[in-house]
Amino acid sequence: MTGALSRKDWVVSQLITNRALSLLSVNVAIAALMSLVFGPVFFSLGNLSGILLNLASEAILAVGMMYLIVSGVIDLSVGANLALGGAITGICLQGSTVFGLVINPQPVPVAIAWGLLASSLGGLLNGLLVSRVGVNALIATLAMSKIIGGAALYIGGSEIANLPQEFCVLSQTRLFGFFMPVYYTLAVVLIGAILLSRSRFFRRCYFIGGNMRAAALSGIKVPPTLTAMFVIMGFLAGLAGIVFAARMGNASGNTLPNIELNVITAVIIGGGSLLGGKGNVAGAFMGVLFINLIKTSMVIAGIDIYWQPVVVGAILVAAVVFDVMIQERYTVNMNLRRMKGRRARMAGQAT
C-alpha cells in the first residue's frame, strides 16, 4: 500500500494518521523546548520520575477506557470504581465492620484480591446493564458511578489512614530511580497494547465499535465481548485504586474525583473516537503523557494552575477539530489517490 508513496509523503501520512507517533513527536518537542528554557529544573531524572508517577492512575485507566471507546461505549464510573478498589483493600488490610459484618485484618495479597474483585464486579454490573439490558452506556455508568461511589464512600469514609507498611512498599519502593507504580503502568500499557492489536478476542472491539449490527451478524457475540471489556475496565480501575492507595499510605471513599473525564479527554486526544472503531493503546498512553507534560510544564513555567482546565480544554477542541477537518479529509484524498492509481494500473494491464 505504501509502496505507491514517496518517502516524504509517507512521513506526512504517518504524522497525520498515526496519532501515537504524532503525539510522541509533540511530546518530544515539548520536552526539548522545556529542557532548553528551564534546564535542569525540567530536564532531570527526578522530574521525569515525578511525571511518570503522577500519570500512573490515568494511564492505567486509559487502557481500559480505550478498549471501551474503540467498542463505541464509555465508562463514567471509573473514578468511583477506583475509589472502591482502594477502599475495599484498605478495610481488608485494617479490619472493620461493614453492615454489621466483622472483617478481620487480611494478609496483603488477599486484601488486594478483594479490592480487585469488588471493582471488577462494578465493571460487570456496568457491562450487564449496557450489553444485556440495553441501557445507554453514558447513563448506565453515570448511574452506576453513584452506586459504586456511594458504596466506596460508605466503606472508605473520608479516610482509611495508616495502611500497613508491607502493603505500602508495593508502591513506595524505588527501582532504578523510578517508583514501582511507573513499572506497573508500563506493564499494563504494554500488555494492553499487545492484546488490543494482536489478540483476536480484543480485536473484536474494532468490529463492534465500527458497526455493532454488522459485527453481530457476522457471528461476533457482542454482549459477552462488551461485558468482558467493562469487567476489564473495572479490574484496571481497582488496580489503579490499589496502587494509588499504597502510594499514599491511605485510602478514601472519594480519591481522584473527576478522573474519568481526564481519562476520556486523554483517550480522545490520543486518537480514540466516541463513534467507536478507532484508536489504539499507544495513542491513549501518549495522550495521557501529553496532558501531564503540558500540566507539569505550566507549573514549572509558573502559570496559575487555574489555567490548566482552560488549556486542556482548548487542546481537546483543537485535537478533535484536527481529526474532523484534516485527518478525515486527508484519508479520503489518499483513498481517492489509491483508487486512481489502482484504476490506472488495471487500465495498463488491460492494454
Binding site: I74, L129, V133, G134, V135, N136, L138, I139, A140, L142, A143, M144, S145, K146, I147, I148, G149, G150, A151, L153, Y154, G157, L261, I264, T265, I268, S273, L274, L275, D304, Y306, W307, Q308, P309, V310, V312, G313, A314, L316, V317, V320, V321, D323, V324, M325
Partner: protein, 334 residues
Amino acid sequence: MHERTQRMGGEAGAGMREVMRATLTNRALSLLILVVLISAVMTALYPKYFFNYYNLRQLLFYLATPAILSVGMVFLIVAGVFDLSIGGNLAMSGTIAAAILIALPTFPVAAAMLIGVAASTLAGLVNGLLVAYVGVNALITTLAMMGILRGVAIMLAKNPIGVSETFASVGAPFVLGFQIPTYYMVVIVLFGAVVLARTTYFRQLYYIGANRRAAELSGVDAKKVLLTAFVVSGFLAGFVGIVQAASSNAAIGIIHEGIELKVITAVIIGGGSLAGGRGTVLGAFMGTLFMLLVDTIMTIASVNNMYQPFIVGVILVLAVTLDVVIQKKLGAST
C-alpha cells in the same frame, strides 16, 4: 349503540390497558402520579416537616436552577446531542457580571448582567458551531468547553465576589411568598414547553434526533436548528448564572460543579433518550422535580449522608432499566 354497550364489557380490560399504556408512555404523567404518591406518603409520615409552606418554598426555589437548565438540555437531547458545559457556563456568566462591577463600580448593573448572559450565549454558539457545522462529537466539544468555561469562572472568582443590592434584586426578593427564581422557572418551563411542542422550527429537533440524515433529505436545515438549540442552552445557562449570583448574594467560581450530569439524568428520567427523538419539556421538569424530591426526602427522613449517593444511584439504575424494559415491551406489542 346497543352493540357498543354489549361490547363494553369485553372492552373494559382493553380500556384499562389503554389507560395503563398512556400512563406508561406519557412520562410527565407517570412521574406526576409518582410525585403525588410520594408526597402523600411523606405527608402521612412527617406531617410536621414535609407538607408546609416553608418546605414547599425552599423546594421550588432549589428546583429553579436545574429546572431552567433542563429546558435547554431537553431541546438538545431531543436532537440527539447534549451539553456538558452548562455548569461552567452559568458560573462564568455570574462571575463575569460580578467581576465587571468590582473592576468598574460605576458600570450599570443591568449592562454587566447582559454582558454575562451574552458571554454564555456566545459559548453556546461556539458549542453549536463545533458540533453542528464542524461535526465534532457533542460530548467532546462540550466537555472541552466545560473545562474552558469553568477555568475562566474560577480565575475570575477564586473567592466568592459579593454583589450589590441592585444586583441581588433580580434573584433574592420574595414575591407573594415565593422567591423570584421560582417565577422565572414557571415562565421559562411553560414557554419552553410550548415552543418545543408547538412551533414548526423547534419541532424539527425531533426529526433531527430521530434520523438526522432523513431530516436533512426532507429539507430540514439540521445545522441551523442544532446551532439554535445550543445557543438556547447557553443563554439559559447564562441567565441562571446571573439569577444564582443574585439570589445567593455572591458570584462563585466553583458554583454548581457537576450540575450538568444531574440535569441530563433528570431529562432522561423525564422520558428523554440519549439516542435522540424522544423527550418533552414537561417530562424533563417532572424528572427534575422527582430527583429533587428524592434528595429532600432523604434529608427529611435523616438518611445518613453516606448512603444518599448510593440510594440515588439505585433509583437511577432502576429507572433507566425500567424504561428500557417498558420501551421494548411496547415496541414488541405494536
